[in-house]
Symmetry: C2
Subunit: 467 residues, 2 copies
């Protein structure tokens, strides 16, 4: 639809409504073919005809090699508007294939926040080369943004925003906006920040309020107090939390002296939420930084470290089994049943873990409710333990015709599910307290605990009772 800048009176077709939902595979194939045939004109033409967000989607479907070839072939198709929409993976492949001059051109077309996201992905030396090609003013702004830590609010903010002194009227503000050159205004903004003489933000006026107000109304009458203020040092997740909590369309960023220095927009926050969620979910499953364009070797590299850790803990658990070899040699049923106890513990622990990690990320666990939640998890573990002891006992009895084995597995199940409940809540909370990311490290501790305890309690009780 992007090429239609003029009104139309035809009805929308279902196809048009579905526009944007799925990438057009025909277009992807077209680009792929053009790249294979080294047809630069065709690559450029096909991508240029699309909405930049759609063009970015098409590029994301290509393999890393195809993306690099496309960028080398048709650098003109990778303008600032497309680069701003690319995923980090695809962006990396594209920038590798452009020269500093081409990248600088793209950066000149971008908003500050998007430009920062691009420049931060560049290798040190290459970055210096690109920055040299930029106008001194833009270079300085970019360099000062890059001084903020990665994943901080400072990296997300744009330097263009609209302010008004608190003694202005609605009319004065509107005239000011009209007379400002477009260069000094953000492309899009949803609110104006009212500042005091020291440039501290004291309130905000939504454009939808501004447009309705009489020209002679003082701004102080139509402004509302700020519901949230962000600092550049704040973690981007914390900034996202404020947007979510207070339903903000944008937020002011202030420096150490409390002076307005930038603005963060909600569309960048939507991006952050998406990234952080992906990270949490993959971290829980033990995957480190995965992208769809990854090669086979990158995929192996992102997963093998976790499998090494898992191998160590699995060997640890097996060592527990090995220490009970004598009793297993006499009663093989124990080797059959032991994995059930460990598996149930692992699953129950993972459930509690996922709930806790999610609650920590949403800031739902606080000192006001943490004791109640720990108690709840322990009680739930105990009740689950009772339920599955009562279910598994009779099954073991019927299977191996032994009341004693039934008692042993029942008791082991009860204990291991209680341990699972404890570990599922205490491990992530403990890691958080020590400053570690609970999503990344919890799972190995929890499953090691439930495996080791599961095997030890079951085989230990069996040794005591059956021998």
């Amino acid at each position: 639809m992007s090429e239609k800048e003029h009104p139309r009176d035809d009805l929308l077709t279902t196809e048009e409504l579905a526009h944007g939902m799925d990438v057009d595979t025909l277009v992807v194939d077209e680009v792929r073919l053009a790249v294979a045939m080294h047809n630069a004109g065709a690559v450029e033409k096909t991508l240029d005809e699309l909405d930049p967000a759609d063009a970015a989607d098409v590029v994301e479907q290509l393999s890393a090699g195809e993306t690099q070839a496309a960028a080398r072939l048709a650098p003109g198709a990778f303008g600032g508007d497309v680069l701003a929409e690319l995923s980090d993976d695809a962006l990396e492949d594209v920038v590798e294939s452009l020269n500093p001059r081409q990248l600088a051109d793209a950066i000149n077309e971008m908003e500050m926040d998007d430009a920062v996201q691009l420049v931060e992905e560049l290798e040190e030396n290459f970055r210096t080369g690109v920055l040299k090609q930029l106008a001194p003013k833009l270079r300085n702004l970019l360099e000062s943004s890059l001084k903020f830590e990665e994943d901080s609010a400072g990296r997300l903010m744009q330097r263009e925003f609209v302010t008004a002194p608190q003694f202005w009227t609605v009319g004065q503000l509107i005239d000011h906006v009209r007379q400002s050159s477009n260069e000094n205004l953000p492309d899009v903004f949803y609110e104006v920040y009212v500042v005091d003489p020291a440039f501290h933000p004291v309130g905000t006026v939504a454009l939808s309020t501004l447009i309705r107000a009489e020209r002679n109304t003082p701004l102080t009458e139509v402004m509302t107090s700020l519901r949230a203020i962000v600092t550049p040092q704040m973690d981007q997740e914390d900034a996202a939390y404020l947007f979510e909590k207070y339903d903000l369309p944008s937020a002011p960023v202030v420096d150490n002296e409390g002076r307005l220095t930038g603005m963060i927009m909600v569309d960048d926050i939507v991006e952050v939420l998406h990234e952080e969620h992906k990270e949490d979910m993959l971290a829980l499953a033990g995957v480190h930084e995965a992208g769809l364009a990854d090669t086979v070797l990158e995929t192996v590299r992102s997963r093998a470290p976790w499998l090494v850790i898992n191998l160590i803990t699995a060997i640890l658990a097996s060592a527990v089994i090995a220490s009970f070899s004598a009793v297993i040699a006499k009663i093989v049923a124990l080797a059959v049943l032991a994995p059930i106890v460990a598996s149930m513990g692992g699953n129950a622990g993972t459930q509690g873990l996922a709930v806790t990690v999610r609650a920590i990320a949403s800031r739902d666990i606080t000192s006001a409710n943490v004791r109640r939640i720990i108690l709840r998890e322990i009680m739930a573990g105990l009740i689950n333990g009772l339920i599955f002891a009562v279910i598994m006992g009779p099954i073991a009895w019927l299977w191996f015709d032994s009341v004693l084995i039934a008692l042993v597995i029942g008791a082991a199940m009860l204990i291991n599910l209680l341990i699972a409940g404890l570990a599922g809540i205490l491990v992530p909370l403990g890691l958080k307290r020590f400053g570690a990311d609970p999503a990344v490290a919890s799972s190995v501790f929890v499953t090691t605990a439930t495996d080791v305890v599961g095997f030890f309690v079951f085989l230990g009780l069996a040794t005591l009772i059956l021998l």
Copy 2:
């Protein structure tokens, strides 16, 4: 800060900057105490003094029982502004304790989309009672929104939005907005939709563009084409995807004839992203609809079903072990090593699964790249298999002093990690094709496959080679 509606020139303190980041536990304790002492006035006063979003956060810290007691005691503290900010769990507890009259009062203060989110949580009979208390116009609007399916875009949309015919000028539009009564305008809006005579949206004008334009400019000159249009039947996840892709602040919703019928705002989409993330993450871990305010029994109920399924699959895997009892009785080392093969497969499968579920949710897997990704996962599985075969073989050799056992576990590891790679990608894609939610059901299939194959291949090869 909500009570300060007037400018100030003091510096911001760190405390003020941290405002909103953490719930004030002193306030939570205050409310808790007031509830325990049946002090209605204190409950109401404490909550009223907070920003509604903060008041909601405080309520979310209470247990279900405390929340119900607080709502019964001080219904006035649970106005529309607070109810709109509450999580579904807490909302459920509050509405149970209010009568239809009180709820209707709260609904009258709310925006349509928030009102729908509240009413949809009510029990059938109670809902009818509440709707009866509302003005016919509002009731009709609510009832027509509720006709759309749960989790559809129709439930998210508000009915207030601003439109302009395509032949208007900027000045005419601004005058129209100024003269409209506040009742007919949304509280906040970021753009105006330009419509044709049949009320089909043909473009959008951002307020930040409108405010800068000359009064006599035709709207068609400043409007941009619509990047996305939503239908009420669309799944809310699909709507969220469009917002994310096109960086939208709001989106028009059209009916079956393509006529503008509603508007969705980005803050509702942020909420949707949050909910969907939570659901995906918990579903992967086998937790069904968990809330922090849940009681112990609700917690058990949300987790036991998954544990029952896991018990069945664990017994299935144990049956495989049992069928090899004869060889285990002769070589106990097999009982020690078998769980390692199964555990490694389960973990590798879960990694692939998490990556795939995430990619499906982000619509990153399409027919244009699915073959490449499947191939990549299989190759990665094979390489991981080789790596861990080479690591585990020598360990087993040293541990049990048997080259044959080393060969058996190496081969089993290779095969099981290949199966894990296959299952991790094919199970979620297959479930998706059959219309099931890959986040919910995949994990049981994947781990059952890796457990059963792991035990079978390892013990089977052992029987063939060692006996």
